[in-house]
Amino acid sequence: MLKAHIIKKRREMTVDVSLELASGDALGLFGGSGAGKTTVLACIAGIEEPDDGFVQLDDLRLFPPSLPLHQRPLGYLTQDANLFPHLTVSENVRFGVAEHNEWIETLREHLRLGPLWSAPASRISGGQARRVSLARMLARKPPLVLLDEPFAGLDRQSVRELIDDLVLWRQTLGFSMIAVDHQAEVLQRLCPRGAIVLEGGRVVQQGAWSDLYTAPATPLLRSLLSPI
């Protein structure tokens, strides 16, 4: 169970968000640009430190005091694959694990990394880099996965494949997941049970997707959910 109350002052607004996530569940954070979604995720990950509040993952206190990044049992995927360019694909995937094991082999096979395995990470395409990044995160089998628009800039086919992979691995490994995206259709696939909607750093609505579509709490949310 993840429980968090994030308060983080920004120049233009104060992010003040509370959320709870049951073990093995998936929660979407939805909203327009600048709503505070990334800030909430970064504070849970430990990339940023909240000004106040708390973050508790099961029995582990992540904040306060701020638990060092290397002690946080979570995976974090962002828009940038953040692969280590001086290493090969296989070295990137094995980066956070002690040794090459069967699980790494499984990831290599299922994420179609075989042909890239020995390639330098700096020489692969954006879509391939996201797959490698996903494999690297899953290699450690984290109990909590945080996704910050990890499909931005990819073609629809690549996005579909990555979402399928994530859904499959979440069912297999049973990790909890918080996903951030400004595309409702992506979030619905990843987090079918519902989402929290943020505007101006505050929660304006939360619930099942059907509720968000039928009775959006704000004009902006209505606009975000309507077809272009």
């Binding site: 060092p68 290397h70 953040n82 280590f84 001086h86 980066f95 956070g96 690297r136």
Partner: protein
Amino acid sequence: MNTNRRWMARAGATFFALALLYPLTALFARIGGWQWSDNVRGPGVSSMRVSLLLTGCAMLIILAIGTPMAAYIAHCRTRERLLWQAVLLIPILLPPLALGILLSLAFGPYGAVGAWLERFGIVMTNSAPAFVCTQVYVGMGYYVLGAVAAFDAVPLALQKQAALLGLTPGKVFLRVTLPLSRLGLAVALSIAWVRTFGEFGAVVVTAYYPSGMPVQLWVDLQSFGLPAVMPLLVVFLVVALPLPWLVHVLAQRRSLA
């Protein structure tokens, strides 16, 4: 860039290089036959050994102390970082002769540290330790400031990602920060090498003996005149240039890889 413009740029670069190397034409000046007799060659070869060995020692010290210091400064907040950078600029800023005088007084027998070291038999005037110490002071600022810039160039996101993958700060430094900044570090070290290898003003005050190559050039000039200086100058270039040049060759190969 079209072909004409490229050739114009190349011509400009060639002119620049020729202007930079112009002083070397003095090697062909009419000063009489170059002198490389025993009394010039012996001390010359000895000074080459001194310069290579002791500058190498100084580089190791600079590397060992300067690298963690640079890593620390790179993670400091702006105000603290500016303070450390000002400290590093001071020995660079000082005229070499003035730095030599200050070092000579501070580490000499009447300085607190100098007197203390003498109790252990370490003499800090006209000795190998004095030579190395002076070179460390001369080169440290160049290396650390360059190393800070090299560490700054490593994306913070990669270092945080490595930490989130379970690496302790020390391992993040060894497995991510250091490999990704190694070319910048190598360039910083090569600049420090060039600067210290050619150092004369400070070393001539603190360590006239054992004479390194720059001091020996001065001695030859005083004792035998220009004909004795030229061969040692050529040897100096041949000895001092390969290391920093090799670093740039490696950097070039890396960027083309």
